[in-house]
Amino acid sequence: MPAELRFHTVDAGESPQESKQIEQLLTESDLGWDSRVETFVVCRKGAALVACAGIDRNVVKCVAISPAFRGTSLSLQLGGELLKVAMERGHFHLFLYTKPDNTVFFRGWGFYPLVEVRDKVALMENSPIAIRRYCSDLRALRKHGGKIGCIVMNANPFTLGHRYLADVAAESCDWLHVFIVREEASMFSYAERYELASQGLSHIKNITVHHGSEYIVSRATFPSYFLKGKCTVDQCFTAIDLLLFREHIAPALEITYRYVGTEPACPVTSRYNKDMKHWLETADSRSPSIEVVVVPRITLRGSPISASEVRRLLQNKSLQEIKEMVPETTMCQLINCFGDQRRETEMTDGDDH
């Protein structure tokens, strides 16, 4: 029987007919179609589609096996085929979304549990030690004692709003850890964002500016953040990212407070901030609560200063208006880049937390 199984890949949008069959198989397994999947690895027996597994860059999801084939060797073949496809594309460190009940199954594929939202969803990765290594690296940078705060920011680009939030946080904490979102999905590159944030925060003495990682607001932990405009707010899934922070990152650095600016403009970020209170403070978790401190944004002539407003002004070539919204270091960079030529971008424009 195994000889009759045929595996092949289907890119999103390649075949409406196959997509329909995949969707049907997913429905049978109580899973939804995920438009972010780039490629499905599918298995057919004769004409029947009996299994599928989707990948979105380095994130595996939408894995379904027809009931009659569960518990057979098909599953491990499917896992092997999927790994092959991912690695051919240069993705070695993989994440996987599944239902909590199925994490044992995916252990067989070499995936290990990272974090779980009870009864809903679990995130796994294909390494027994990656998160442990990451946290042990963080632990080396830990500052002991007192009140330890944290801000996660995209800083796209770094504004006076970011600086104000960090000033407020640093003032009320003994030490402040700032993470810059690492994902390259913004108007400004990660290197630029990190550099401008470091410069803009260099006046604060009790601060560490950390490089972001796949474990903090990344495509793997928080896919909706990088797809604004394409997804509706209620699809926004924030629990995984926030629980990962609470259960792995915060303990490594002994963080007990997380600071965030109010978000009047962006619905996804606004939702994230709201969910933050729930998942960091009140939700069930194996780790202690982290207090969320919401700091009102500073305003300029009545309007809140935000990176998205700066980007809007950039699109309109209104460099002069930006001057009052960003520190000098950011302004210099903007003049360098946009002084005579404007940078076009179709990429999403993640704002800040």
Binding site: S73, L76, Q77, G79, G80, L83, M87, F92, G108, W109, G110, N126, S127, P128, I129, R133
Partner: protein, 98 residues
């Protein structure tokens, strides 16, 4: 020999094993083995892995193994293949592989 790039060999299927190698950050050799038969054969599997790495003179790298009940020669072959791929090794010393 050093692992300088990520590489894999093998499969997840029964009686086989998947070997993943990647560069070490701190110039150490780290080995992680999980196996369906770890209780019965964990020591023997680890012995074969260690011995294979030693013969290849692997000094640093991260070696992760998902074993599905493979026999010793399969373990040896998969580890060799993954290491040679990960070390981007072009010239083989066949004596090391025997």
């Amino acid at each position: 020999m050093r692992i300088i790039t990520e590489a894999v060999a093998g499969s997840l299927e029964s009686s086989d094993l998947l070997v993943k190698v990647s560069p070490s950050r701190d110039k150490t050799l780290e080995i992680y083995v999980t196996s369906d038969v770890i209780e019965q054969f964990g020591t023997q599997i680890r012995h074969v892995v260690d011995d294979t790495l030693k013969r290849l003179a692997v000094t640093d790298g991260l070696i992760v193994i998902e074993d599905k009940g493979a026999l010793d020669y399969a373990i040896r072959a998969r580890v060799q293949t993954a290491v040679l791929r990960g070390a981007a090794c072009k010239e083989l010393n066949w004596e090391q592989l025997s």
